[in-house]
């Protein structure tokens, strides 16, 4: 079980993601993607890998279990800069 959690961490780290402890999210400013801890916990490594590889534009993209409301997206975008 720990191995599964660790390997998801590893996948995210290798893809250049950092962890924001306060918001409990993984984020990458280059690819403009944000993963919630809940999303990472509830999805397999292959889904995670696929999500990381998905092309993205210049807007932040949120991988959450429940789509974040606009106000939450704005707040997180401010936090992430």
């Amino acid at each position: 079980m720990v191995q599964a959690v660790d390997s998801k961490w590893q996948i995210l780290r290798e893809a250049g993601y950092a962890y924001n402890f306060d918001r409990e999210i993984y984020f990458n400013r280059q690819t403009k993607k944000v993963f919630s801890v809940e999303f990472v916990d509830d999805h397999s490594e292959s889904v995670l890998q696929k999500s990381i590889e998905e092309p993205n534009g210049t807007e932040w993209r949120f991988y959450f279990n429940s789509s974040p409301p606009a106000a939450v997206q704005r707040e997180l975008e401010n936090v992430l800069g």
Binding site: M1, V2, E24, S66, P68, A71
Partner: protein, 214 residues
């Protein structure tokens, strides 16, 4: 329209609830101590059962509620969605026991007395196994707005948490990142494994009929 932030509203709610939080904490602590008196009175010299209580402070409560939201962020367009009454641990009692014999008795007594309360066990993943620590929450006669929480933990683990929390979580938000570090998680996992092994070995030796001749 209320122009205050969600955090301000929640702080006001906290101080409205505080007298009840205190009453729940005091009642639970007294009730658990009374319940465990028979167990505590027949402990061996090497056994310990310690009951402690704590009230979650205002900032921790607001922060805890925020971090429960996915993405750790309040939806500012829906401020009425949030209430501190959703937190189960505003009033908390923790029971530490060593070794597992009294711990098992404590768990059994509390489970029976608070059977209507909701179990919400805390699971810690280590490299060898999953450690599960019982936790219950519910309402007592002191309040119908504030839930109480009772947590039962092996003493060695509980004391480790006290050091870990005061070192990493309390002093500064920046230090919280330490807990998220992969290598730190591995170290913590090894601590749990070692503490569990210590307790097992201690109990194994207690049952050894040749202990005195060692």
């Amino acid at each position: 329209m209320d122009s205050r932030t969600i955090e301000d509203r929640l702080r006001e709610e906290y101080f409205d609830l505080l007298p009840e939080i205190r009453r729940v904490t005091e009642r639970l602590e007294a009730e658990v101590k009374y319940l465990l008196l028979p167990i505590r009175s027949k402990l061996h010299r090497y056994e310990q059962v310690v009951v402690s209580a704590r009230i979650k402070d205002c900032d921790s409560a607001v922060d805890s509620l925020r971090r429960r939201q996915e993405g750790g962020t309040f939806d500012t367009e829906r401020p009425t969605l949030y209430t501190l009454r959703d937190l189960a641990d505003l009033a908390g009692v923790r029971v530490l026991a060593f070794p597992s014999r009294p711990l098992t008795e404590v768990i059994e007594e509390i489970r029976k007395r608070f059977e209507s309360w909701k179990p919400d066990p805390l699971t810690i993943l280590t490299e060898g196994e999953s450690l599960v620590f019982p936790k219950y929450n519910g309402y007592c006669e002191a309040s119908n707005r504030v839930r109480g929480e009772i947590q039962i933990v092996p003493m060695l683990v509980g004391l480790f948490w006290e050091v870990e929390h005061s070192a990493i979580y309390k002093p500064s938000p920046q230090l919280k990142g330490i807990a998220a570090d992969l290598e730190m998680k591995r170290c913590a996992s090894q601590v749990y494994t070692a503490l569990t092994a210590f307790e097992h070995q201690f109990e194994t030796l207690l049952e050894d009929p040749n202990l005195e001749s060692r």
